[in-house]
């Protein structure tokens, strides 16, 4: 199914995902099928219909502005792949 405006490699870069050539070919084909399938939604008349973001009838949930305990520094860092001096180590961003 053709989907000329869907470029899987471009979208994968937006999503920060390296793809192999084989993945690129397979996903391009499979996701074009899925996009063709969801194109059926274009048949629905949605004039004047409000979008639903979620179904829970709760809005503006507040709590008292008081401090509460959370994870300790050691707990928060416990799963970090790299850490030093009680901090997460992030790959260099600027030269």
């Amino acid at each position: 199914m053709p989907a000329p405006d869907f470029d899987v490699r471009y979208v994968a870069t937006l999503a920060r995902l390296n793809l192999t050539d084989e993945e690129t070919r397979t996903f391009q084909h499979q996701l074009a099928d899925v996009l063709a399938f969801v194109d059926a939604l274009k048949k629905v008349d949605v004039t004047g219909v409000e979008p639903t973001a979620h179904t829970s009838d709760v809005f503006n949930v507040f709590r008292d502005d008081v401090a509460r305990s959370g994870l300790t520094s050691a707990e928060a860092l416990g799963n970090a792949p790299r850490r030093a001096n009680d901090l997460f180590v992030v790959t260099k961003v600027v030269e």
């Binding site: 869907f6 899987v8 979208v11 994968a12 870069t13 937006l14 999503a15 920060r16 995902l17 390296n18 793809l19 993945e23 397979t26 996903f27 499979q30 996701l31 099928d33 899925v34 996009l35 399938f37 969801v38 059926a40 939604l41 274009k42 629905v44 949605v46 219909v49 409000e50 979008p51 639903t52 973001a53 979620h54 179904t55 829970s56 009838d57 709760v58 949930v61 709590r63 994870l71 707990e75 928060a76 416990g78 799963n79 970090a80 792949p81 790299r82 997460f88 992030v90 790959t91 260099k92 961003v93």
Partner: protein, 489 residues
């Protein structure tokens, strides 16, 4: 009580046995360990478990608590403090949960012992558990077939009496569909009924935690203990939690109950055995006094499409957190930050997760957002409205859980779209936020010679009408014998 009999007990029956001192909590863990050793190598429901820790917890258990000393299996998507929580993904290899999910904490406070890590489709994305990066789980009724998904390990553990009950999560049917395929009860509560805090997020506007159990009564017990407002989840609803178990008391028939039969749910692609079982179940409900009314859910055909836009869009945003900095896998020797992200995520995520992240990123991207995401949200409104209108006429809807019984391992893995259609009868409930339950409703004797395969019957009810939903399902269950049949293991 003979140790061999213990694993087959329901939560309610086990509680009674523990309180009568017919067995001790340590006996229960020993009996479970023996069962696991014998059966789990064939089913492979569990990714890991800690019998030593469970025995220690059992030795200290107070059986007077509502779930005192009762082990409850955990899908690998729920944080249980001190245990791995890997979502069956390599990107979370080695991750140890630093806190309890609220649902887990509430069960623990009720005396339960959170036990084991149950297999699942990676990040709950799938309908067969074949997308797990940790290996497949087998259907206890036929090892050549899938247990369903995404909570396939949870369903198989309860279906194979490798757990008294288990927790799962349901984003588009991930509790109800595997429960149907493994012959157990699976409940997806109303969106907001149980806190999602500590559930690793897939699609935040659709995800709900719920129980897998051997009886509807057990589902009522677990729901009552987990439900209610939680300050840690702003979408949890502050609605009173009724006594769900009391709601079942004395229910013997369905007189005065109006059951809706959605005409759009009997479609091409549904197997003859499922159609036959559901028709028979409807006739049975009618004999019990229910009034059967045909209802229309006219936007049903669009539900799968809406789901795969909304769910993947939310997933692409939620899974952005897996960046190899705070937890999880990190690519070695990155040349820069972009390379760090691109390789960490490429190495950590499996194919289905990548597909969905890409689809979700596409439908949210500039130029496509309105055409896909916004339109899907509007059609979601129409799907929700269909249910509002149906529930003006009926108390609950009855329909199949899945269009077919368990399919063969490998049968659908090459065609994602075909796999997505496995959820055709369950997805709309998540989009509408309403509760649904799957109960054993018959067997398909035709697919697998000598191996009957369970068929699930689904009931759907209006938001926060779980008492009524459970009562109807309980009456159906207690007046049929499907739930008493166990797989030959």
């Amino acid at each position: 009580m003979s140790p061999q009999d213990i694993p087959f007990l329901s939560v309610g029956a086990l509680r009674t046995a523990l309180r009568a001192r017919e067995c001790s909590p340590v006996d229960v863990i020993d009996a479970l360990a023996a069962r696991l050793e014998k059966v789990d190598p064939k089913v492979r429901a569990y990714l890991s478990h800690d019998l030593t820790g469970a025995r220690q917890a059992a030795a200290a258990a107070d059986v007077n608590l509502p779930l005192g000393g009762i082990p409850i299996g955990m899908k690998d998507v729920l944080n249980v403090k001190g245990q791995p929580c890997g979502c069956a993904s390599h990107i979370l290899d080695g991750y140890i949960a630093p806190y309890d999910a609220t649902a887990v904490a509430r069960l623990r406070a009720a005396g339960a012992i959170p036990f084991g890590r149950l297999n699942m489709d990676e990040f709950a994305m799938g309908s067969s558990t074949e997308n797990s990066s940790k290996g497949i789980t087998h259907n206890p009724w036929d090892f050549d077939r899938v247990p369903g998904g995404s909570s396939g390990g949870s369903a198989a553990s309860v279906g194979a009496d490798l757990a008294f009950a288990a927790l799962g999560s349901d984003t588009g049917g991930s509790i109800r569909q595997p429960a149907a395929l493994c012959g157990c009860v699976g409940l997806k509560p109303t969106y907001g009924r149980i806190s999602r805090y500590g559930l690793v997020a897939f699609a935040s506007s659709l995800d709900q935690i719920g129980p897998f159990t051997k009886t509807v009564e057990d589902s009522a017990i677990l729901l009552g203990l987990m439900a209610g407002k939680d300050p840690m989840d702003s979408t949890s609803v502050d609605d009173p939690v009724p006594d769900y178990v009391a709601a079942l008391a004395g229910a013997k028939d369905l007189r005065g109950v109006k059951l809706g039969l959605p005409k759009e749910y009997f479609i091409e692609g549904i197997t003859p055995a499922v159609t036959k079982a559901v028709r028979a179940a409807v006739a049975h409900c009618e004999r019990l006094g229910a009034e059967i009314i045909e209802v229309s859910l006219p936007h049903t055909e669009y539900a799968v499409g809406v789901y795969y836009i909304v769910a993947t869009a939310e997933a692409s945003a939620n899974l952005a957190r897996f960046d190899g900095v705070r937890y999880g896998h990190r690519a070695t020797d990155p040349t820069g930050l972009l390379d760090h992200y691109m390789r960490t995520r490429a190495e950590g995520f499996g194919p289905e997760v990548k597909r969905r992240i890409i689809l979700g990123t596409h439908v949210l991207s500039s130029g496509y957002h309105d055409a896909y995401y916004l339109r899907a949200q509007k059609v979601r409104t129409l799907i929700r409205r269909d249910f509002f209108q149906a529930f003006e006429k009926v108390d609950a809807i009855v329909c199949p859980t899945s269009p077919c019984a368990a399919f063969k391992l490998g049968e659908r893995t090459a065609d994602p779209l075909q796999m997505y259609l496995a959820d055709i009868f369950t997805i709309a409930a998540n989009l509408a936020g309403i509760p649904g339950i799957s109960v054993p409703g018959g067997f398909d004797e035709t697919l697998s010679p000598g191996k009957p395969l369970p068929i699930g019957l689904q009931f759907l009810a209006p938001a926060f009408a779980e008492s009524n939903l459970l009562r109807i399902a309980h009456v159906y269950e207690q007046t049929t014998e499907w739930h008493q049949k166990r797989p030959a293991l």
